[in-house]
Amino acid sequence: MSGQLIIFWIVTLVTVLSAATVVFSKNLIYSAVALLFTLLGVAGLYVFLWADFIAVTQILIYVGGILVLIIFGIMLTHRITSVRLSHSSMQRGIGGAIVLMIFVGLTSMIFRAPWYRVAAVEPQETVRQIGRLLMVDYLLPFEVASVLLLAALMGAALLSRKVN
């Protein structure tokens, strides 16, 4: 087993185990910290998939932005000094059964489907091509995304301000 493979399985294990902690932990703060490790692990998987730019974006936006937002959400909705930051789950039995069925269905589909595969060569650089694609082939979605971000910004600001 090569070193690369060992690191891959470590990253996978960290990702999946901390994702399980996010869902099963009784403490909301533990869930948030486990989510941090899940997101970092997914960034590691992107590196193994030759997606360096996506990996960095994942760390910048998810870990630096969304996770901080989520922790803000936790802090603002619980009084930290007096708190039970614990949170419970409901109907774990039924939920677990449904999710198990979904997982088994997905896995059997994955191993049965004749995926279209291409032997790709490792790209020398991805950033230049991603920039070209964004500005040429995907220009309209790019602009729509900017409008969407503006709308989300204004919506969030409007929703969270104090009403007089």
Partner: protein, 101 residues
């Protein structure tokens, strides 16, 4: 080296765990964390198909858009959760069953 199926199974695992979080958690913020897991699962699939399925860099672009949407979604969802907390004093999504107080 690692095959396409391995990444797809990892994506399926993350997706299942995310669904489990969404349908069993009572806390609004925890439901949001489940949604983030689901989006990450989709992203892993996109990038895996970009690497193995001949989707090339279009897969990367799609996962970039998913990340952008996740950021917008997290901001708006947290604003809504804060509003629910201010109005009802709880973020238990079972109790937040009215549009107005």
């Amino acid at each position: 080296m690692v095959d396409l199926n391995t990444y797809l199974v990892i994506g399926a695992l993350l997706f299942s765990l995310g669904i489990f979080g969404v349908i069993t958690r009572r806390n609004g913020v925890a439901v949001l964390m489940g949604v983030e897991l689901i989006l990450n699962a989709a992203n892993v699939n996109f990038v895996a198909f970009a690497r193995f399925g001949g989707m090339d860099l279009s897969g990367h672009i799609f996962s970039l858009f998913v990340i952008i949407l996740a950021a917008a979604e997290a901001a708006v969802a947290l604003a809504i959760i804060l509003n629910i907390y201010n109005n009802m004093g709880t973020i238990n999504i079972d109790e937040a069953d009215q549009l107005k107080q």
